[in-house]
């Protein structure tokens, strides 16, 4: 199969993974409105109410009021993602969210005759940037009323690794419609992340 003729595995600007860009194209094709990471949900707090860990679902479909989280990691590596999802559902029971595993995404692309694309987009191959070590600090912010606090901060064995945890500036409210970030916005965000990392004395995480 001639991959170059049919496949576009280069992520659109702003998407963390090429699979997200492909899912956005599928949603666009079927005229389903979407927003990319429009909201960040704090899911872990210390005793002072400072947010230690957050979760930003990849997509929000405003007409259907549902979030989609896409992970193309191998099934054995998604334990942490599942834990985050469980916590989100505990803390925000009214939020509807679906998690698409790698096998789901493969099946989706297979349905559309793009099995080779699924192989190309699974795992780290489709990431915008290679994994690297950063130093970041916790996000400041009060815990929602009535939400139990974590007994301790996340340790090195369970670090916050989602984008919002690394980047307070990334948090945003609903309201953007098909808000695909531009290359310049992506560069600004990267600069912001570097700034946070430089100013922070926080824990070390692997992005």
């Amino acid at each position: 199969m001639d991959l170059d003729a049919d496949l576009d595995i280069r992520p659109a600007p702003g998407f963390a993974h090429a699979s997200e860009a492909e899912l956005a194209r599928i949603l666009d094709f079927y005229a389903v409105a979407w927003e990319y990471e429009p909201r960040t949900f704090p899911i872990l707090f210390d005793r002072s109410g400072t947010v230690l860990e957050s979760f930003s679902p990849d997509f929000y479909l405003p007409e259907l009021d549902v979030y989609l989280e896409l992970t193309t990691l191998k099934q054995r590596l998604v334990r942490k993602k599942n834990r985050k999802l469980r916590r989100l559902r505990e803390l925000y029971p009214d939020v509807r969210i679906k998690l698409l595993y790698a096998r789901d995404f493969r099946a989706l692309l297979f349905k559309y005759g793009k099995l080779a694309l699924a192989d190309a987009l699974t795992g780290a191959d489709g990431q915008t940037t290679p994994p690297k070590v950063r130093r970041v600090g916790p996000i400041a912010g009060p815990a929602p009323e009535g939400i139990p606090l974590a007994p301790a901060a996340a340790g090195p064995e369970d670090p916050p690794t989602d984008r919002a945890s690394r980047d307070p500036a990334h948090r945003a409210d609903h309201g953007r419609r098909r808000a695909r970030p531009t290359r310049s916005a992506a560069r600004a965000r990267a600069a912001s992340q570097l700034s946070v990392a430089a100013e922070s004395g926080g824990i070390e995480v692997t992005a």
Partner: protein, 188 residues
């Protein structure tokens, strides 16, 4: 070289036999006949997969019905389409304004196509719009849609037959079967 489909050897398992399917179609036909008695009903089938189901279902319905056919493009059909929008390849032949409409589907998995169709048909002012599907694969759902008539809920497997295809083959099987994974992973 293109692999030639083998209608027997390529099926790893019969998921739903012809007898099971026909019994369910009769049951659905009875329910639909009761529910729409005295109302103007149009069955709208979505090509191509739902053709066998539509043919059997309409004959199991005992009240007067009109039928119509639609076809919509699928994502990934061509490189051009994958960057475009879904298109109506075949539109309704008759107006559904004021009529009760039942969409007849072979299978609902992601719900993306059906979600589009529902919105499109609602714009044509039917008296009501309901959904009937022979197969429901909820594990693959991206868009939640209320299904009014459901034949079978099936597991997350790639199924063929009774209208369902892989590479346009296997539609003429009289049962619903599971396609051997080697068929779609074989580079030849």
């Amino acid at each position: 070289m293109t692999r030639r489909p083998d209608l027997t050897a390529d099926v790893s398992e019969v998921l739903l036999s012809e007898e099971q399917i026909q019994a369910k179609v009769l049951e659905l036909g009875r329910r639909i006949s009761d529910d729409f008695a005295g109302r103007e009903l149009t069955l709208v089938s979505v090509l191509k997969g739902s053709l066998p189901f539509m043919a059997d279902l309409m004959r199991s319905i005992t009240i007067p019905v009109q039928i119509d056919l639609m076809e919509v493009s699928s994502y990934g059909g061509t490189a051009t389409e994958s960057s475009g929008l879904v298109r109506i390849l075949k539109d309704l032949s008759s107006s559904i304004d004021g009529r009760h409409v039942l969409i007849v589907e072979d299978i609902i998995d992601t719900g993306l196509t059906l979600n589009y169709l529902v919105r499109y048909l609602r714009g044509k002012n039917p008296a009501s719009l309901q959904i009937c599907t022979l197969l429901d694969k909820p594990a693959r759902r991206l868009v939640e849609i209320a299904i009014d008539y459901r034949g079978f809920e099936i597991p997350d497997q790639f199924v063929i037959g009774y209208g369902l295809d892989y590479g346009e083959a296997y539609r003429n099987l009289r049962f619903v079967g599971v396609l051997r994974p080697e068929v779609y992973t074989d580079p030849d």
